[in-house]
Symmetry: C2
């Protein structure tokens, strides 16, 4: 499949850009720069969805261009696009293509999970048609529900990130349940991720079947790094959710590799805490500061 092994592409991009930063596209109309909102007055659009889609496009397209040297990947949170209906869905499709042209890997943050035949339709939707490089998936259905994604990760150069330990407080409700073996459920899921990704290592030693491990749980994250030594981590929770560079550094391997770290709101809306800068400049400055903090915390300087 032309494009090559997903984890190799991810790790090579990290080295080339000297960055572990993933920028999260979580557009929120209430947080857009006021000048940009003013440039899209309601009376110019037939529906509120049209208006928001136009504003999101003019917000995210220049951001994608401006951040291309700083971030290795874009994680598109599809929920914010679905909230604008089919027009929003079309913008999601557009942005995947735009970001790939700009040299990003694109992670479609869809967190889908279903029985096998339905999961196949989701894999067609997001990996084949929309053409994202990787997707996030939910493990609750078990192996057969993930098989369509796993097949594309083994054969088509695609990647997936299985939810293991999520960044939110409520993650304890299920994920921390203690099994009769004495281990928490998330470690059992980690063992399954190891099994599902067997023999998918690329040249650089990492597998195409990755894990989502919240940066807000550094102790569990360190245990999960040990439990899944060959599994690339997608680490959400940096910035607005409170995870620091030192906390997420525990999810890197001894060489400071093997994980990428997502920040959405703190980068997108950086203009709010950096008065005097334009919103694009503020986002670049925030992402650059994050990139440097992570590179240092990874012991790479």
């Amino acid at each position: 499949m032309g494009q090559g092994h997903f984890a190799d592409r991810l790790l090579e991009t990290v080295e080339r850009k000297r960055s572990h930063v993933v920028v999260g596209f979580d557009p929120d109309f209430a947080l857009l720069p006021p000048a940009l909102v003013d440039a899209h007055p309601p009376d110019r659009y037939v529906t509120e969805e049209e208006r928001k889609v136009a504003a999101y496009r003019e917000f995210l397209s220049p951001l994608a261009e401006a951040l291309a040297a700083v971030a290795v990947a874009v994680k598109i949170q599809i929920a914010y696009f679905e909230a604008l209906g089919s027009l929003g869905y079309r913008l999601y499709e557009e942005l995947v293509g735009l970001c790939q042209e700009l040299g990003y890997l694109v992670i479609a943050d869809v967190k889908r999970g279903d029985i096998g035949s339905t999961a196949e339709a989701y894999a067609v939707a997001h990996l084949d048609k929309v053409g994202a490089d990787a997707v996030t998936v939910n493990p609750y259905f078990g192996a057969d529900g993930l098989e369509p994604f796993l097949r594309r990760a083994r054969q088509d150069g695609k990647g997936l990130f299985v939810l293991v330990k999520t960044s939110n407080p409520g993650s304890a409700d299920l994920q921390d349940q203690v099994l009769e073996s004495g281990e928490p459920l998330y470690l059992r899921v980690a063992a399954l991720v190891n099994k599902w990704g067997e023999a998918t290592e690329g040249r650089l030693g990492y597998r195409t079947v990755g894990a989502v491990v919240g940066g807000t749980h550094p102790v569990q994250g360190e245990a999960l790094r040990t439990a899944m030594p060959r599994v690339p981590f997608l680490v959400p929770g940096y910035g607005a959710q409170g995870a620091t560079a030192d906390a997420v550094a525990r999810m890197f391997d001894a060489a400071g590799r093997g994980a990428v770290v997502n920040s959405a709101r703190a980068i997108l809306y950086a203009y709010r805490s950096r008065p005097g800068l334009g919103w694009l400049e503020a986002a670049v400055e925030e992402a650059t500061a994050m990139k440097e903090a992570l590179w240092r915390a990874a012991g790479r300087v």
Copy 2:
């Protein structure tokens, strides 16, 4: 919220139509009636997606009309619409409205789950904007990830069905993990569903926070019925996946109420096993046979 309590509406519709049948809209182009495919030749459309969307519309709209007297709800499996991109998404939006006009309750089978802020966007998308009566949700994120759906179930007359024990074989991987208390994880999820739905009972005694319990697991289903006495069940797995009327009857309460049962492929593509009947007639015949078998199995005749 005008439309009233979700579980009351569901149970009243069951009584009025004397049916526990939910018809699943899982369109699969390869299984469409050949005459309908022939009526949509590729050279009439610019893209394959346009062609399939047109064929799905001409398949599902008359089916919705023909089945309105037999089925209480339509469960729209969004994956098959996402697989056709933004055009497919638009058809999903259209069908929700059409089915509601025909008197169905509409369950958007989206199985979403995410952190709170993202879950809010999903709830806006599917309950507020598309306006489905209920959604299916994934419990892996825990309480805060479900809160936006729970709020709408408490305040807006909406329903939700939390995945508890799914119909696929791989459901054992996580859902059957035995906890230190000796109970399987799915029973722990059932306890959470009880907690999340507290004090949401309607006039008829059932709550707005329901559960998905696969009809392919009758023994576990019976245990789950006992564990969640006030929780409406959405039971998939009937028909093509192998669950029988007697098996799913264990998910009804003592009065033969409290559960609705989904069948998709067996109804939609009934023409394949009923030669001599048109595809609409075959679907109605299949759904009617299912309705009668379930009514009997529920001890209602």
